[in-house]
């Protein structure tokens, strides 16, 4: 997304030992010249890794810049992704709108005013529905619940999926085969359909609904993390940890998972977006969040008929907020991906 590769910390270069040619192929030489050795950079901060960077102090007189931690570099790269930064701001505003706004706004979503079906105005910025309820209050409540569910789902699913994938990838062999067959099995069944089936039963409690959705959406993280772990487990620092007698548990949690943190974080953002879209779709169908709770999806169910009757505001506003959440979260995920994996933004022909 970014036009130029982010600036390198010169210390990367000065501390970089000559690895000889990297098997990376074409870019190896260019990478070397621009001081971009992402793999190395990550290797060096690995807990338990052989810290090649620190064993050799920089000797170049001109390059005595203070060393930055990897996460500071990530932050700096992230800040260059303008859309992602703007998205963080917009998402924060949406969160404020949903949580603080609902507390401050002088209408409640269940309070019926005398203004029936009025178009957006100063008094009711988002208009009202046919019962006279203030639509902005409804959207606030809906956004709040949809956000709560989405983040709960994303946290549960990414934590479980990551551990599952890490264990599977770490042990390989028959464990891996069995665990991955189970994932394949899950993938044969559309999450949305099972969500509808179970949501009908559990939808009245948003936490249970979130649990159901998490149980359906974890497979993606498991697959990705497994793939990452398969490569990370071959790295020297894992071998070193094993040679030092670290337990499998310690190796997985202290050495492997921190090293696949990047993909996990990116997956988390994708999960938030997926969860919002899935939950609102289920709620729209009537199998998700159920009355008296309000979700952006259930608002659209009501808004659908209203829109064909010329009261479009009841349809457009909830939809707009779903898009706002999903879009900003996706952009943030993209920014994080670029920031965490500099090879993705390499300048190329």
């Amino acid at each position: 997304m970014t036009e130029n590769p982010p600036p390198r910390d010169v210390n990367d270069e000065s501390g970089r030992p000559d690895l000889g040619p990297t098997p990376g192929g074409r870019n190896a030489e260019f990478l070397g010249e621009q001081g971009q050795q992402p793999g190395l950079m990550i290797d060096a901060v690995t807990p338990g890794g052989e810290d090649i960077l620190e064993s050799r102090e920089p000797t170049d007189r001109e390059f005595g810049v203070k060393a930055r931690s990897q996460w500071q570099l990530v932050l700096r790269r992230f800040l260059q992704h303008k859309l992602a930064v703007a998205s963080v701001i917009v998402l924060l505003l949406v969160v404020l709108f949903a949580f603080v706004g609902a507390a401050v706004w002088h209408y409640s979503p269940t309070q019926f005013t005398d203004d029936f079906s009025v178009a957006p105005s100063a008094k009711h910025p988002f208009g009202t529905d046919s019962n006279g309820a203030d639509h902005m209050a409804q959207v606030m409540a809906g956004t709040q619940l949809s956000l709560k569910i989405a983040f709960t789902v994303a946290i549960l699913a990414s934590v479980f999926g990551s551990i599952y994938g890490a264990v599977s990838g770490y042990y390989r062999g028959i464990t891996d085969t069995l665990m991955m067959r189970l994932v394949d099995l899950f993938l044969t069944i559309p999450a949305l359909a099972v969500g509808a089936l179970l949501g009908k039963k559990f939808g009245s409690n948003w936490a249970l609904l979130a649990l159901v959705l998490a149980a359906l959406l974890w497979t993606g993280s498991a697959r990705v993390v497994r793939g990452q772990v398969l490569s990370v487990r071959e790295k020297e620092f894992v071998e070193a940890a094993r040679a030092l007698g670290a337990t499998d548990r310690r190796i997985i949690f202290r050495h492997i998972l921190p090293n696949v943190a990047g993909p996990i974080i990116v997956l988390f953002t994708l999960l938030v977006a997926t969860a919002v879209l899935t939950e609102t779709a289920l709620s729209y169908l009537g199998f998700g969040v159920q009355f008296p709770d309000i979700s952006l999806g259930s608002l659209i169910t009501a808004g659908e008929t209203a829109a064909t009757g010329g009261r479009g505001w009841l349809f457009y506003f909830p939809g707009l907020f779903i898009i706002l959440i999903a879009l900003t979260v996706n952009f943030i995920g993209d920014g994080l991906r670029d920031a965490l994996d500099p090879t993705q933004t390499k300048v190329r022909a």
Binding site: E13, P21, G32, R61, V347
Partner: protein, 427 residues
């Protein structure tokens, strides 16, 4: 090597017109947020017909990028200036269409990693024939016949069976032979081999070098051999160009470079090379520090921060390439005369405290007379150690010559050997 091409051992540098490939002031710059990355900062060389020129340097020294520039294979973002002439015809700025006619036909290239150089989804024969068909209007049968022939030359056993296999059924060494076969498919005049053996097991390296030699013999092509492995260069090249931070720092006939290096960096490279004639308990001498970033290079000699001979002048002005031992041997160092007397052991003392202060007499008085550097070369001639001239003439491969081989002075207190291989270019 020299026995095979005796005439190429002493190139006729006086007439660059006869050079098959002539590179002048080649620079390559990549844009980056941190400022332009000057990957190559002025490379010039002439490649004579049939000659093998070794380009040596650490990764990031610009050796590969300069060759990619010759081939016109750099990313579009790269800015290339200077001149690359093939048989007198300028290649830089040639339209892509005309350049494709040159690539593979006149100048062929061999890449570093044979495991990824071949397209995994096509058969070996297909990929070889494709190279033939790209420049020759022949039938597929003819191209296949030629492919079989090529596989035979590079030493692939039972080529008629192997030709219908996929790259993943080949070992790394075998794949590199295929890449070599592709390079020689159209009888090129120049073969550029970019670290052809680096990604291979040591046991296979010699075989691949053998195949490379066969390819060169068969086509009669001149070759640019890019490597960080001085051992590879020693066995193959007629002349050597040493690069550091995007610039040639020393160029000369192979023996001159090996026995009379006149640039501390070259000395350091040789010092980090293990040798058979070295006493076993001796350790290798590393070059301290790492290559500089080529973004916003500071003024002065880029090697100065790592150089034990550095003086004030080194920090101020970058030395240019000047003749040191005759016109063919040139070095870019303000203090190249000092090196006439010292081996790597003396230059790169492994006592970290002593290193910068080494040779205070040289550092101090030489620092005051930068203006004299142009004429220092003639002054040095008589000063060199006896017995080196013959070595240059006979072209003996490694240092059994009486001249003091660099990089092995006994009885020095040195660093932990565990770190050594990483700091030097040779591994």
């Amino acid at each position: 090597m020299s026995a095979e091409y005796p005439d190429a051992a002493l190139p006729d540098s006086a007439s660059p017109g006869s050079a098959v490939l002539s590179v002048r002031d080649l620079t390559v710059t990549f844009p980056s947020d941190a400022g332009p990355v000057q990957a190559v900062r002025g490379v010039s060389y002439d490649l004579m017909p049939g000659e093998v020129l070794g380009i040596v340097g650490e990764s990031g020294s610009g050796k590969s990028v300069s060759s990619m520039a010759v081939m016109g294979l750099l990313p579009k973002t790269a800015r290339t200036t200077g001149s690359v002439r093939f048989r007198g015809r300028e290649l830089l700025g040639l339209p892509e269409k005309e350049m494709t006619a040159v690539r593979g036909k006149r100048i062929a290239m061999i890449f570093q990693d044979p495991m990824t150089s071949l397209n995994p989804v096509y058969k070996i024969g297909w990929q070889l024939s494709e190279a033939v068909l790209a420049h020759h209007d022949v039938s597929k049968e003819v191209a296949r016949k030629r492919s079989l022939e090529l596989l035979e030359i590079v030493g692939i056993p039972s080529p008629d069976k192997r030709i219908d296999q996929y790259p993943h059924e080949f070992s790394g060494g075998m794949r590199q032979r295929v890449v070599i076969a592709i390079a020689m498919a159209n009888d090129p005049d120049v073969i550029i081999a970019d670290e052809p053996t680096t990604a291979l097991d040591v046991t296979v390296q010699a075989q691949v070098l053998e195949a490379l030699r066969a390819a060169q013999h068969e086509t009669g092509a001149a070759m640019v051999l890019i490597t960080h492995d001085l051992g590879v260069v020693a066995g193959q090249a007629d002349r050597v160009l040493v690069m550091y931070a995007g610039k040639p720092v020393e160029i000369g006939p192979i023996d001159g470079i090996y026995y009379q290096p006149r640039m501390p960096y070259t000395v350091g490279l040789l010092g980090s090379l293990p040798r058979l004639d070295q006493r076993t308990q001796e350790k290798l001498t590393p070059i301290p520090g790492t290559p500089p970033s080529v973004v916003n290079l500071p003024p002065g000699c880029p090697f100065a921060p790592r150089c034990p001979l550095k003086s004030d002048v080194c920090l101020r002005t970058e030395p240019s390439l000047l003749p040191v031992l005759g016109a063919e041997h040139q070095a870019a160092c303000h203090h190249s005369d000092l090196l006439a007397y010292e081996g790597a052991m003396d230059v790169f003392s492994t006592d970290p405290n002593a290193a910068p202060g080494q040779g205070p007499q040289g550092e101090q008085h030489l620092g005051e007379e930068p203006g004299q550097s142009p004429d220092r070369a003639p002054r040095q001639e008589p000063g060199q150690a006896p017995g080196q001239e013959p070595g240059q003439e006979t072209g003996g491969t490694t240092g059994q010559e009486p001249g003091r081989p660099p990089g092995q002075h006994p009885g020095q207190d040195r660093r932990d050997p565990g770190q050594d291989p990483q700091s030097g270019a040779a591994q």
